[in-house]
Amino acid sequence: MTTTETPDILRRILDYSARADPYPLYAELRETPVALQEDGSYVISAYRELTGILHDPHLSSDVRHLSRPMAAAEARTTPSFINLDPPEHDRLRRLAMRHFGPPHTPGLVTGMEPDLTATVSGLIDDFAGKQQIDIVDDFAYPFPVTVICHLLGVPREDEPQFHVWVNAIIDSLDYDPRTDPKEKLDNGVQATTDLREYLGGLLEQRHGRPGDDLLTRLANDDGPDGRMTDDEIVSTANLLLIAGHETTVNLIANGMLTLLRHPRVLQRLRDEPDLIVPLVEELLRYEPPVHIIPWRAAYSDITVADTVIPKGSQIMLMLASGSRDPDRFHDPDRFDPDRQDNQHLGFGSGIHLCFGGPLARLETQIALTELVRRLDRPRLVADPPPYRPSPILRGPIHLHIEQSQ
């Protein structure tokens, strides 16, 4: 029997005090790979069980299949494909992918390389003369945000406004009615409405106009699957904007932090720039930006490791824990960019495998390579740095470093 009640560990993981180092708690959690919670939900934390359920067609991403309705703000809007099941998920993802990746738009991501490098260089140029740099505010945040705004066709000047909305939405993602003030949820709901309204306004201007950005392409192009409705485009843009906001920021910040904690690897990266490719993969395993998929639903009874999860149950997937499972990865708590067979869960797995993965990889590869190349003997000011509140999208809120002048 793999199921026991372990509400305690989960509560400790979600508590802010665990943010800097949740990994020992994950290890404790993995002792019960499928753990039933007091409220009837299930937490899955071991690698094999996670990959099993991520490929299980009985697992639903559509929260409308939960027997107990969920609170989060996302539940109240038209779902984007991340919160849908096949066939709708497949159709919308395919429609979006037509404009984002192969086979119809190959080379979009790799073609962005010169622009990405230029953006990164510009940001690092601005470090000149600064004694202290905040890797988050001065670099890891503005970089991917600039990129996703450009890609979608969202005016960069509006960024401060939707930064506020995105923060409120992210904040409400891990809303817990038992501990959180209702205000947190209300803010999230309001921000979702405002952001959708804003994107809807942008979209309206794009109909019937030529243009190369994603919003314009989605608004005007008819593929074999037909066209997305305006509502669907707004949901898709909303998803890409939010996903493009917080995840890559955390990946870059976690990456720099990890390198500063492993000076020998940092030096190696300086000497062998090609190391960056496996290094980013190892980072996605070791310090991933997305730690938890908080709500999936059992569409019918699902059997995981001899435990039957009843239909309608909420299922929480502890991805970051799976990527540190010693039953799957040799010496999992060691950061080892030479690791072989590194099939981490950093981008999830199965049909919802991260849509933006190729872009996030490239952004992070360029960002870390350039930081390491151009910073002169960088030092951490505080270790651990202060973290964002979210246990789901986990990363430092600031990462202050000093460099020699």
């Binding site: 990959t51 099993g52 490929h55 067609p57 096949p86 066939p87 019918s300």
Partner: protein
Amino acid sequence: MTSADTLKGFKRDGRVVIVGASLAGLRAAEALRDEGFTGSLTMIGDELGEPYDRPPLSKQVLTGWVPAGGTTLPRRRDINAEWLLGVPADGLDLATNHVHLADGREVPFDRVLISTGVRARPWFVETEAALDGVFVVRTREHADGLQRALASGPSRVLVIGAGFTGSEIASICRERDIPVTVAELAPAPLVGALGAVIGDVAADMQRAHGVDLRCGVKVTQLEGDAQGRFHRAHFDDGSTIDADVAVVALGGIRNTEWLRDSGLAAGPWGIACDTGCRALDLNGLITDDIFVAGDVARCPNPIYEYRLISLEHWVNAVEQAQVAAHNMVSAQADRWPHLSIPTFWSIQFGVNIKSVGVPTFADEVVVTQGSVPDRRFVAAYGYQGRVTAAVSFNNAKWLDHYRQLIETAAPFPPPCPTPDEPVDAKPVPVDFPGPRLLAQGATVVVTGHDPGERRVTAAWQHR
């Protein structure tokens, strides 16, 4: 000397010979070096040139995207081998441990790996097979010739045999806007490998793309003109068809003839071996120095009742090569079994077809997810009430789940609804046309006895 010393000595300066220098042979050679084998390594191959990859030959090469010469297999590491290319091996002497080459040379070995694969089954009338415009597709020379014939704008192409290779070639013809007729003895394409239900889907797909598909017919004669160019084919129903190109896609013949007098259990279905890739002799005894990998191997698998299974699958060749190489340089207790669940893929008519398990090892099939009319679905195969295989059309990401069902002998049909459930999810008989046809077009042949044991649970491999 202890056996540990012997093994050490062999690893340091033993002699390994690999016969068949293609995918399995090259990957095994690399794995041997990875495992620390520093002795002499000889690669014997009857083809000239570096080992290359075959799946693109019926896909990217025929569209003209990739030149036939551009499919060289990537080298993962230096193997420091002696290459004896362009000459076939024509005998194996187990008494003296020598490989005989057709040019009379003899190559001594301590251990040998046999990976001679299969060759294309030629058209059964030699003079007709020799006509200009008649092709098979197994080597890069074949693919190069066919791609040039397609590029010259033939009025029509006739594909004989609608297995995977034949169907892929038909798909490319349509992609290149070349009229194509496909002749298949079975009632539908892919039937030999995937059964009648999927065969019907494949038939619809071909017709929807403008293929002139003729099933249940036999091509009896390929007729040439005065210049010796193929121009017409005759069918057993008396009809004829005019075309400039005929592609004979009737499956493969295993390259085992050269082993006829070796005393190994080698024959038309391949070379029998144990799960450690060690060849069996005619009496079923394990020969400890003779290893087999790839298309030519017949390997038992507990999930399929330990029947000996021959697979013409790329992944299988790579995995067996790794296991064989490891076992060649390991002590008995450290050896690995090759127990993986087969996977296969194909791309045709814009659809990505992928399978796990052995679909021919089934009595029933059911569509479990998606929609057949939309050509995006998963079908599960069952044998006596347990799941034994699955096939996906444009839905490959789910197959890991079915792999798990196969590994755990999960009940068939798989229960409970999924969000993307097809309207009619009833199991139906799998309907294979029988062993006669199986040998012609199938990529998988299951042979062996039928013990009563049904339930198997795969052991998790730790490497």
